[in-house]
Symmetry: C2
Subunit: 441 residues, 2 copies
């Protein structure tokens, strides 16, 4: 059957296409793009006589939806490799927080630009970020061409004034930057955690989020130690506490979700809370393992995230996919838990859903935004190719990504990023990191 398409801005052809809507894959497939949206997904042979502004011969490659990193703090590239092998609270109190107290908007911009560069080079086309000076992250998104769901962090930590100030900043950011960078930026509100924001503040955040029609991004049940402290104060766990506040009504993106009871899991399932699993940072900080299978079995939507590069130490979602699959197999002592396909789906369509963006990205379907990556399958570690999903989850590295497209725009081709000058981005981040370390508090 021929296609009626006569023209396209961009045509990708000759590759395996994984639409990621179902397990179906298309051999010798093609994708056509016009005005930033996908206008065709199917067999290359169905597109006869189409005229395209740009054609990518993608033989030997696989096209898949760009990966979606649902929890990170990209500007923390600046702290990569600082304070290794320390417990979470020591790491935060002795190293990260004192440095963050000295951060400027320019530092965040430099770090975020490096993070965007790293994400593009490893196949991530959309990320959810929570940090300070989020406007600077929005600038990095604009400049790099990536997509971002950004939120300014809200933290109280017993200081009502701080809570008020960060709340206001978060609201102003969410209002002003929703739709920024040709619509590639959307926004959320981001209360840091139940233990660092009081109940009144959390209620206000929820009311405001509902009023603005944005989601809420929060750290939830990250460590057993924090849980015990929290229980000592409030007499219940974080999930029960937030549930009683009505916090789970509306769109919630909850990162970590490690130390949950079965009844906590049911609460998350009943309220459609989106869980972000962060296996690499969780393992590196010596935390418990989230029981992702139990959440999936209850129908919870689970996405994947890298966390900030200071506790990972990369933003490579291919690596995170492998860790996610293998950690669950280990935790359940069952190699059948979390198949490669399931994990790839968490990193694409389920990730998009977690961000409320599954209507526009996350799969390769006609009408969706053209956020596409091409992975070069010609590498020795991907051969022979018996199983494309296994190859992508268990063997592919971020460096095997050859081409990255966001909104139909080619941001990287043959591993060369088109929107950023790699050397100057790196040099700028190095300068800001060195300056920050030397800076007086």
């Amino acid at each position: 059957m021929g296609s009626v398409l006569e023209r396209a801005d961009l045509l990708i052809r000759g590759c395996v296409v994984l639409p990621m809507k179902t397990m179906d894959l298309i051999e010798n497939g093609a994708i056509a793009v016009e005005d930033g949206r996908i206008t065709f997904v199917g067999k290359s042979s169905s597109l006869c006589g189409i005229k395209a502004e740009k054609t990518i011969d993608a033989r030997g490659k696989v096209a898949l939806p760009g990966l979606v990193n649902c929890h990170t703090h990209v500007a923390m590239t600046l702290f990569r490799g600082l304070a290794e092998d320390k417990p979470l609270d020591v790491w935060l109190r002795e190293v990260i927080w004192p440095l963050e107290a000295k951060l400027t908007s320019e530092d965040v911009y430099a770090g975020a630009l490096l993070g965007c560069l790293e994400m593009l080079k490893s196949g991530t086309t959309c990320f959810a970020d929570m940090y300070f000076y989020e406007r600077a992250v929005a600038e990095a998104v604009r400049e790099s061409g990536i997509r971002g769901v950004l939120a300014e962090g809200i933290i109280e930590a017993g200081n009502l004034e701080l809570g008020e100030k960060t709340f206001n900043n978060s609201v102003i950011f969410a209002e002003s930057f929703d739709g920024y960078a040709e619509g590639r930026v959307s926004t959320m509100l981001a209360p840091h955690a139940a233990y660092s924001c009081g109940p009144e503040l959390l209620r206000r955040v929820k009311r405001k989020a509902s009023e603005l029609g944005v989601g809420v991004h929060i750290h939830l049940a990250e460590s057993a130690e924090l849980f015990r402290k929290f229980e000592g104060v409030y007499g219940c766990g974080e999930v029960e506490f937030l549930h009683k506040l009505g916090f789970f009504d509306g769109h919630v993106l909850a990162a970590h979700c490690i130390d949950l009871s079965e009844s906590d899991r049911r609460v998350l399932a009943e309220h459609g809370v989106n869980v972000v699993h962060v296996p690499v940072a969780n393992m590196k900080l010596g935390l418990n393992a989230a029981r992702i299978k139990a959440l999936v079995d209850l129908g919870v939507n689970v996405a994947l995230g890298t966390d900030g590069p200071a506790s990972n130490n990369t933003l490579d979602m291919f690596e995170t996919m492998k860790f996610a699959a293998l950690l669950q197999k280990h935790v359940y002592r069952n190699p059948g838990v979390l198949s490669a396909y399931q994990v790839l789906r968490m990193a694409t369509l389920d990730g998009a859903k977690a961000l409320g963006l599954d209507g526009i990205i996350g799969s390769l379907e006609v009408g969706k935004k053209a956020d596409i990556v091409l992975v070069d399958l010609s590498k020795p570690h991907l051969k022979p190719l018996h199983d494309i999903y296994a190859a992508l989850v268990y063997s592919t590295r971020g460096s095997d990504v050859d081409t990255v497209i966001v909104d139909g725009r080619v941001l990287m081709e043959n591993r060369k990023v088109q929107t950023l000058d790699e050397e100057s981005v790196i040099e700028k981040a190095e300068r800001h990191a060195a300056d920050l370390l030397a800076r007086k508090p």
Copy 2:
């Protein structure tokens, strides 16, 4: 202080050098090589007026000892991605063993060549292999220029004739190929496991190994299920059983060592057994986690291995280092367990020791063989560079390796392998894998 060196075959200069003998590192360092051995390690500035046949300007790179993969079955590249997400026994009985029954020496050669290519491209310069048709693996070692400690597998599985035949093959291989390929091949005997070789056969293996002066490579305590079956037959665990046989006298390389009691660990420590930790394959198969810290605390020498690519699915030792560090931090719920330096040491000097080769490889020292890799530090995911060990273990991918040198010979430069034609190696492996799958039993 100037150096007295007047000439070198190869000179590497301008890089950070990690000798890996201690934690000392050399900024703006240099390494000189003559006749395949290291003749200088120190500051670049100490080498004035030296004449070198070939000079590598290694600015922006780090030089470290080539990585040592202490447990694999390289030819299993052919099975990469076959039979995913299955339990160990099903995976073996239903997929791997039926295919292995059809294997030819030519298949093993094709698979081993692909494995050697993959290892070189990810910075591994020496590997310990146990498989069938090990002569074909020795040929791949000769051709690729890598170093290998090879052993033909011995298996009885209740069939005395099979035990006799594989024992004889293993002995003939060990005798004939020790020192092959300009000395880059050394040999061991490789009884598959305590549960698959009877006590009489294991005693013969040990006697023969001692007579030939070679080590013994074995799978040990890999799965709790196998342990229960074994205990049902012999009334004790594998370690106690082998200990009573005197199996641990002499050089032993024991892969996995997962399900151990404290007294098992003491036995291994007292006998100087070399343990190979295989975190990726262990997690992927849903097995328990080896308690590596407990072994290290008792003074056991621990090395790292990838296992065969059918259960990993790569041969990338950088990935294995990250998994090793993070799995132990998770198991002990302590981010301080296994520092990045410790893990890098397991993958270099301790790996060499596990193979009985620490006198000639594993660290960058004058007099040792020049097995060196250069990692390109200019990548976004390695920046800023606050901690070189953390960068190598937590951020570096195999694809960041730029140059690989074995025995002073440059096998890869600017990621181009000099000894093998990449495309034809891949094409040959693909052909053999497809043919094997289609072949009648």
